[in-house]
Amino acid sequence: MLSSSRAALVAAAAKLPRLVTRYGYCTTAAGERQQQKPLSPKITTHPTRNDRAKDPRWKDIDMTRAADEADVVIVGGGPAGLSAACRLAQLNAEKGTEMRIVVLEKASSVGAHIMSGACLDPKGLVELFPDWQERGAPLHTPVTGDKFYMLTEKRAIPLPLLPGMPMHNHGNYIVRLGNVVAWLGEQAESLGVEVYPGVAAAEVLYTEDGSAVKGVATNDVGIAKDGSPKDSFERGMEFHCKQLIIAEGTHGHLAKHLINRYDLRAGREPQTYGIGFKELWELSEDRWRPGYVEHGVGWPLDSGTYGGYFIYHLNEGSPLAAVGFVVGLDYSNPYLSPFHEFQQFKHHPHVAAALTGGKRIGYGARALNEGGVQSLPKLTFPGGCLVGCTAGMINVPKVKGTHNAMKSGSLAAEAVHEAIGSGEIEPATYEEALRNSWVYKELHSVRNIRPSFHLLNGRLGMFGGMAYTGAVWYFTRGREPWTFSHGGTDHEKLLPAKDCKPKDYPKPDNVLSFDLLSSVALTSTNHDHDQPPHLTLYDDSVPGQVNLSVYDGPEQRFCPAGVYEYVELDDGSKRLQINAQNCIHCKTCDIKDPTQNINWVTPQGGEGPAYNGILIMTTELQKSPQVDMKGFLLRYETFKGRSGWKKRWAVLCDFCLYLYKEQTSKECFYALLLPNSRVTQSHDSSGQYRSSI
């Protein structure tokens, strides 16, 4: 039965010369390949799933990689990774040790993959750079007002925000996190760290006996969509390091691989996640309240679905506000679309009041971790450690994780520095340091709030969670002796489609709510179309057999970028089409796929979204010009018919020779590009050496 429908699929695909959808994604290569290998509809052409050693197209390609050595390699240039880098550089300066520190960041520039618009607790930053204000860290908007609401379909009920409650934001800053990260990158570079944006770490390298991590390899470039080598093929390079710090953010792909390999989750709960959306709005001036922070829960999410919203009003000159929405990925209805819940939310009278008259100028989405201490894996492995959201340190009720990420980066740096000094393979002191720090105390105190949502089997839902927070947590502050469990992984919680009701979402009005495709366009995401899709499947037949037939293809709905599409073929059957170009690197598919068949790997470096909120890195450029040499030179000049040697002040800088009339002249009158010129020596009667340029 299955093979006959497969044969029909193949026959249909072979007949199609070109299948172009509204995304403009071509499946010609796939169609042509069908004729050679008619047994399975090949979706995954990525080299991680197709061994190139056995592929005849790769027979004559040289697969050797260049290798370089560093002391510490940090994968990921976000708050955690850059804090670790800065702290390491600071330790080296303090203790007089020398280390080569390399940060690899897959975005084209530092901060471009950071979804901006955050409410930052400056604790982590202050410890790293006590003089952050003098250094110009872009924390411009202190929080001036703070409110919490419960939304019903028509009303917004304000709930009291008492000091000490996690949602209380006094002392915090509203920032564009991409700018803060870009600033951190500048600090790291000025401390001597090598930061390489546009480079994706694609593979972990192990020692000969496979026991310890010895480094990473960057991605290959120039592989065609069908997996064959292009003319521009170039192998990635290897970095061999003493310690590897993984700072990839929530559900990083190398972290996933390392966690599996070293069984870092043994004895701990699996990680649970949420998907966070964020839109940047230019409000109409009269509705803009700079410094105002609002959080809330409720409509349109039903009581069984965890989630909430935030609105942060920035104060950086223009009336910008960040509007965010989080949906817990432990939802059970496969017909739920987090994106559409978000769009519907903006129509609530209370929210619409703030946004009306404004204009949406940015959109982005990213998975965030919600597991807290229960889900923290073992943080170290032979040869490295995990920092920040990759391990999972978000304080869920506070909706803040950056301060924890930065602190964990600093602590990891200290442990790594010690390990390199003593020759230890595993930076074991890191985990203990974290347990003794305020990060752990904070996470421990709020550990029961998120799972309290599941109290009484989730029947009380959000009310249960809030009741617990107000009635129990406010008094015990986490000192209660019990620890609630999350009750399993997010992907296991998805119910079959037949057991659930389809959801009917209203059409976007293009004023407050928008459609998916125009939202994705706002992320400015892009990937080279002619490369194997980086959303790889372990088994190409599973989407049709399981995802679609049992769960009605939930990936069409939980992906915030429209990557997954079930297209109908001529014979009426449906085939999964992966529009990898749209991907915004949120990792939700890898998390929520009920069969865990999707494995996100990194595409070529420099690709993906380009979120604004990125400061232009100017430290290297604004440095005062480095003068290589200066002194007096005699120059043979002709002036008003008379020729002679004149003494001029010369400055050599940036391969250019600048001549000034006097040593004190402000402007040069002559500039000579040296690389273009040749020096010849002549010897005159007076015994002086002269050079002609």
Binding site: A66, N179, I361, C656, E667
Partner: protein
């Protein structure tokens, strides 16, 4: 001064052409561009920038000519703000030997026009004396398609624009350039020195990989200013306003030919 002479009759045997390649730093082609609220231009701050795609093709062509031993030296030049250095670093990572950055202060940047850029390039050509200047046919931010042509006129050099292929001519004394024109392809022979502008199908640029980026840090990058080159950047044009294109009105679907004819009649388009 060392004077560079090329023996035109012996091009193949000489140490190769010297190529000057122009690169412009523009907003990345995949970015969703936004008009500034005051309608004076588009938002550029914090927005992802990269090398103009046609310039990437020009850089790739210069590097390929070097690899084929047609060229001896390739120099990249960029006229722009301090951040243009990053663009030049990318060019160096692709295989260019050295780079020149003509730095334009931010105040004058928005008013910079192809006429100014071509004058600056002409001045640099006077001292650099390249045999071949390859520019991208147009920049994707202003779509002017003027700089290459103006430069050729200022230098009084022959020009071959919209090149889709560059190779030595049959007698090896000139360059044979295939151009993409409205009617198809036109092949012409140009004598050097000449200006060529690259079109899309000239080549597919290589990736700037990390080992090459690291090597490029050591390659020379010289800085100049328009004053040093003696070029006046007085704007010749004034931008009155920049606006979003009109919002596309929704279409209507019809079920049959009769419906279509009826709708056309309604609109008065058909009698």
């Amino acid at each position: 001064k060392y004077i560079h002479i090329i023996n035109k009759a012996d091009m193949a045997a000489s140490k190769g052409l010297k190529i000057l390649v122009g690169c412009k730093r523009v907003i990345d082609y995949a970015v969703k561009v936004r008009v500034k609220p005051d309608r004076s231009g588009v938002v550029t701050e914090g927005v992802k920038h990269s090398m103009n795609p046609f310039d990437e093709i020009a850089v790739e062509e210069a590097v390929r000519m070097k690899e084929k031993k047609l060229a001896g030296e390739a120099v990249a030049i960029s006229v722009g703000p301090p951040q243009s250095q990053e663009t030049l670093r990318t060019a160096l990572a692709m295989g260019i030997d050295r780079a020149i950055h003509v730095e334009i202060p931010l105040a004058q940047l928005e008013k910079l026009q192809p006429i100014h850029v071509s004058k600056l390039l002409a001045k640099v050509c006077e001292s650099e004396k390249p045999d071949l200047v390859i520019l991208g046919k147009q920049a994707i931010d202003d779509d002017c398609n003027q700089t290459g042509q103006m430069l050729a006129a200022l230098l009084d050099w022959p020009q071959a624009t919209f090149a889709s292929k560059i190779e030595p001519s049959q007698d090896s004394k000139q360059l044979r350039v295939t151009r993409e024109v409205d009617g198809g392809l036109e092949t012409i022979d140009v004598s050097v020195p000449a200006v060529v502008t690259s079109d899309l199908r000239l080549n597919e640029p290589r990736y700037a990989t990390l080992p090459n980026i690291m090597k490029a840090k050591k390659k020379p990058l010289a800085k100049m200013s328009p004053d040093q080159l003696g070029v006046d950047l007085q704007p010749r044009q004034e931008v009155i306003s920049v606006e979003d294109p009109p919002v596309r009105k929704a279409g209507a679907k019809v079920e049959s030919v009769e419906d279509l004819v009826g709708k056309l009649r309604e609109k008065g388009l058909v009698k």
